[in-house]
């Protein structure tokens, strides 16, 4: 019986994959460099406010964060406004002074970024900034999102 040979193009049909590891490595290095592992576990709820005239903090290693907002009690419920530095809630406002002073000794060009919930009372924030003044950490930054 007549047997017809199937015609096929003489060219190769596979995608060259030898460069794939290089591409993947390149992406990998990009993400490794840009990644910031989550630094703290937030115990207060912070809903940022917005502003137009904001500036970027370029040197992230100089930054120390203070979180102010209602304490998270459960999945949905929140409590009183609290101040959180690093991983712990600071109950005594006057303790901020020593904490921040120690940080300033480690990093003399410290910038304190205040991440404050939009509905917090300003009185509490003044107390905190007053403590910062006593500690000598005078460069601060009110963290806000860009207003759209």
């Amino acid at each position: 019986m007549a047997h017809f040979k199937k015609k096929s193009a003489n060219t190769k049909q596979d995608v060259p994959t030898s460069a794939m590891p290089d591409v993947v490595f390149m992406l990998l290095i990009f993400f490794m460099v840009t990644t910031v592992l989550r630094e703290v576990e937030l115990q207060v709820q912070v809903d940022y406010t917005q502003a137009e005239n904001i500036e970027k903090i370029e040197q992230k290693r100089l930054v120390s964060y203070i979180y102010i907002g209602p304490e998270r009690l459960g999945p949905t419920e929140v409590g009183e406004s609290k101040v959180q530095i690093d991983d712990a809630i600071v109950e005594d406002i006057n303790a901020i002074r020593t904490i921040m002073y120690d940080k300033l000794m480690e990093q003399p060009r410290l910038i304190v970024s205040l991440r404050v919930d939009r509905d917090s009372d300003f009185g509490l924030i003044t107390d905190v900034t007053q403590e910062l003044r006593h500690a000598g950490t005078l460069r601060i930054n009110y963290s806000t999102k860009r207003e759209i």
Binding site: F31, A51, N53, K56, R118, R133
Partner: protein
């Protein structure tokens, strides 16, 4: 002869086929954990705690623009009620008063280097209202600095390097940012 003894050896090779898989695994890990967030915010420098033995330098009443914000977000600008949207223009008028080319108005500042903006709030004032207020004041300064930079050097203020002489001269000598944040009232009054 030596040539005849030569045996065919397998090419020494590291198996490279799994390299891509390993790299992908790492890539996915970093993709998942990465958060590309840029820290943005309003930068301020707090004044140091004043020395108790030294009296604060006297400030003329006309060089001080008092902005009062109460807990409801109502604004009092040098004793006159105004809305938050008017603040920027009024602050600009206040700062540029008595500048060369501008007429001197009686109860506004004696010039940009003397002008001080004082923001005072209640303890109960919500933070976002305060930030809006501060945003307007800083916006007024930024616009003035930008105009100056365009007039003097032909570039926007943002384009100047922070360490450059031009930046420093505008930021320090022409329009220094003098913003004072006063201790809030208890808010009962």
């Amino acid at each position: 002869m030596a040539l005849l003894n030569k045996k065919k050896r397998p090419d020494p090779e590291i198996p490279g086929s799994s390299l891509a898989d390993i790299a992908f695994l790492l890539l996915i890990f970093f993709l998942v954990t990465t958060t590309i967030n840029v820290d943005t915010g309003i930068g301020l420098t707090l004044p140091p705690i004043p020395d108790e033995n030294v009296d604060p330098p006297p400030i003329k009443e006309r060089n001080l623009l008092n902005i009062l914000v109460n807990a409801q977000g109502l604004v009092l600008l040098d004793e006159t009620p105004s809305s938050i949207t008017e603040v920027k223009q009024k602050v600009k008028d206040f700062i540029t008063n008595c500048e060369p080319g501008n007429p001197c108005v009686e109860n506004l500042s004696e010039g940009p280097t003397d002008a001080i903006i004082s923001i005072k709030t209640d303890r109960q004032t919500p933070y976002n209202i305060y930030i809006n207020m501060l945003d307007e004041v800083i916006g007024a300064y930024n616009e003035l600095r930008d105009e100056k930079a365009r007039a003097l050097y032909g570039v926007p203020f943002d384009a100047l390097e922070e360490s450059s002489e031009q930046y420093q001269s505008i930021a320090k000598d022409v329009y220094p940012k003098k913003i004072s944040i006063a201790e809030p009232d208890e808010g009962n009054s």
